[in-house]
Symmetry: C2
Amino acid sequence: MPKLNSHYGKLQASYLFAEIAKRVEEYSTQNPEKSIIRLGIGDVTEPLPAACVEALKEAADELSKRETFKGYPSYEGYAFLRNPIAQQDFQDLGAEVYADEIFVSDGAKSDTANIQEIFAEDNRIAVPDPVYPVYVDSNVMAGRTGLAESGRYEGLVYLECTPENNYLPELPQEKVDLIYLCFPNNPTGAHISREKLTEWVNYALAENAIIFYDAAYVAFIRDESMPKSIYEIPGARKCAIEFRSFSKNAGFTGTRCAYTVIPKELQVGGKSLHQMWFRRQATKFNGVSYPVQKAAAAVYSEAGQAQVKTLTDFYLGNARIVRESLNGFGLKCTGGDNSPYIWVQVNGASWDFFDKLLHNAGVVCTPGAGFGKCGEGHIRISAFNSRANVLKAMERLQKVF
Amino acid sequence: MPKLNSHYGKLQASYLFAEIAKRVEEYSTQNPEKSIIRLGIGDVTEPLPAACVEALKEAADELSKRETFKGYPSYEGYAFLRNPIAQQDFQDLGAEVYADEIFVSDGAKSDTANIQEIFAEDNRIAVPDPVYPVYVDSNVMAGRTGLAESGRYEGLVYLECTPENNYLPELPQEKVDLIYLCFPNNPTGAHISREKLTEWVNYALAENAIIFYDAAYVAFIRDESMPKSIYEIPGARKCAIEFRSFSKNAGFTGTRCAYTVIPKELQVGGKSLHQMWFRRQATKFNGVSYPVQKAAAAVYSEAGQAQVKTLTDFYLGNARIVRESLNGFGLKCTGGDNSPYIWVQVNGASWDFFDKLLHNAGVVCTPGAGFGKCGEGHIRISAFNSRANVLKAMERLQKVF
């Protein structure tokens, strides 16, 4: 009889969104006349930028003719996409990244989940708390943890993000090999300064650790002093892998495109991580859909850049309304300025606050406890919604507070 | 310092296509006036079916409007695609497969590479020889083999496919847990009868083994007596996972869509593989692009079905020409009738024959030795090309033989 991967048995069932759905349904059933506004979800709501739609359709036309038909893409992505990525997302900021260091993929989720595969089982892993669950679960599945107790897995090092440290984790006190960081952060919305990020890079260089830097929300940074890429920090090419996504800048959650940067000089014991990741991708991945890559490349056109700016400005406008309203109610928040998420410090348990918002205002948020131990006492509100819904939600909350 | 996945060091560098490219380039440089016809590659050449192109464009238009915009897809795929798959690819053949047993993905390569993740390290794996390298390499990377010696990895069980057994492997003599089968086969083009496939299913049931059944080339089956799905065989729902692709039926190599079937009653020690794969996909994958899923669904429309038939008939027409020509030259072949590949038995080493075709006819094939020990003495010719190129190539070979 085959033997199964026993590590799957350690995974905590992902009750968070199921539990949210259950409570919302109960409320709806009991209050069928009440309308519900969902501010919990991290999925975008506004149309794809026009430049991307046009590119998708042009690519479809190319596929319809023998002369312009496209077969298997390369594992790393087309040059027409990797070149503007390298130029506009990095070189224009003074960050040294070359087109051949970019691996185009179908999602930052896949990449952040798969990157651990090129490392051995016995590495010490540090993750933020609260955390995007994919970092944790992919390592649990690979056998790098023990069992979970009160929501924390034995063997992982948790980097606590709390009101006391402004949701910016401290450097680990114990030796770690691989460090997951996410800025602007999901779920806290906190962003890191150049000085603080420099401390992390210097730490990784000194301790021979690798940083997995998830910058999926970079398009929401408006503060010019803040770093957009870890490669703006000297030395990062020798210690960091960066993950980016088109999901949140250009609304590609349903279109699916992302990329990962592995600098060629990033080595462990003389071995190139770029080469190992290439081998991994060449064996287990067949590249991203041609029309999707064309749509992603359109993000870098003049029209695409303007449209993405409008789109992210719109969500940031929502975020500002949420944040200012909540501050007005006397609640402390982080995020919502350089991030689409507002992380709200609530009095008491996050599930109690969730119930309060649902029952008294018909507004759905995400209880912070679902993101980890340090998420307790917080809720996450997402700015991904229509303006009308956001305004109506804030009006209702006004009556509650 | 982080520790790397040391199993990557066991991987044999994939010299096959690099070596082909090198020899072709040398020949071109020395003979700049000679035109080269490439019959080595397994990539399609003809345009995407019109129904799929239309669907891609309509989906792009939907993404352009707030009312019809689509965010994150489900991990398993949209019902509009899973329903016709279940109906037309299975239920219409009398095979019991339900829509909620289908996992839509970005490629059969990803799925056949990733499926091993839900199993433990210490399973005994059987693979065909010659073999699609992904089955082997994904298990090497996961640490299920020892080192390679003369092209074979210690710890794997190789199922030999030779002229003596008509390229249909015998049941394993030793105990195995997981068995990779591919029919119609890449690279041999051989297809399996209902009787032989029943033997495999009965073997797996009796021995508590799981069959990974790769049916990526099913659209080329024209012999009505042959099984198109392993689920046409009684008992297969309790022992088999089937992989399908839109790459070769509808020319999606550059558009990227595939699916995997895991029946709900497929269990190991009381644990549901369907549930484990769902957990795997939910953690490491975010679903397939909405426009791509719409394009794949168009394959099941009346127009789409007719266009796919025309497309596969065209490639099969190429295959027939190749096979009949080669037979005419006195060469023994398999495949090319229910498969786009023709597997040719040559006299002597496959690389020598490769050189002969290249130097005397300017025709590029794939040396069988690149697919495994049993591939030696064979070459693979692909029918994925224009009719004009196929005819010209056969004319040139005529002069050689």
